[in-house]
Symmetry: C2
DNA sequence: TAAGTATTTCAAATATTTTTGAAATAATGA
DNA sequence: TCATTATTTCAAAAATATTTGAAATACTTA
């Protein structure tokens, strides 16, 4: 083992051979300036186990220009689909697809009013939009 | 025109014909309970013109489980690629792809240390991660 | 300089998301 | 009931994003 590097044991097995590149069986040498304590490894492992799927669904719902525009419009006022079609200059079926994603993410809801569907932001939707605007 | 509905003029032209469904040439009737003032239309139009592309790039960068995990790991400590490979159990080239996206979004940066690349969160990266965690 | 290692890049294969247009559904009013 | 209209659904097409593995690059050290 060289003086200015050190092997770290993150995974299970360590071989003595030096032939292979950094891998599960042969963890790489890391520069001595970046010693990683077992404690750090434990912390990271704990975080890696956290479930991020809800977060991802929400962020994905937000990360589209059409969907952001829908949310921004609905913050100004509730609108039925046919008005959103005009305001966003977007075909019905396309808009419908994006409305569905936003609804599934819990960012918007709708209620029937005659033969119209009026969409509005949920509380989550308002919160998310607000913090998105704050950040960017 | 029927009593309990009203035509709105969002786009340019309005025909008198009633034959077509709601479209640019023939805006739909909206329920009378949802009158839309010209003022509201103006507000929405102004918002529709806002550029959301930077926001979208950032949100897209964040909306992936691998990338969120990379950020979460880097919040605990800076790491070189070979260690991230272990911690995230992710192939080099795959990881490299995601690191590139995060770098392009301005969420992480790296510095050379010997033949190692040590990645770390940028200030933006820390902020974003923090607010993502606050929200979800 | 040569050999070894860490990381990226590239192109092809896959997977996922979005768009499109037609058809289905559901509510309304005549 | 029938015709109309608002909206969704569906499947195919198109566009994007991700994964994969091999090769290239670049740094280090012997």
């Amino acid at each position: 083992m060289k003086e200015n590097s050190e092997r770290i044991m993150i995974s299970v097995k360590v071989k003595n051979s030096r032939s292979a590149a950094c891998s599960k069986e042969m963890p790489c040498k890391i520069p001595s300036s970046y010693k990683i304590s077992p404690d750090t490894v434990e912390k990271v492992k704990a975080v890696m186990n956290e479930d991020v799927s809800d977060t991802v669904v929400l962020l994905k719902a937000l990360s589209d220009p059409i969907r952001l525009r829908i949310l921004k419009a609905l913050r100004i006022s509730d609108f039925c689909v046919c008005v959103l079609v005009e305001l966003l200059d977007c075909e019905y079926s396309k808009l419908s697809y994006h409305l569905k994603l936003l609804k599934e993410a819990g960012l918007i809801e709708c209620k029937k009013e005659g033969c119209f569907l009026i969409y509005h932001l949920t509380e989550l939707g308002e919160e998310m939009l607000e913090s998105v605007e704050k950040l960017f």
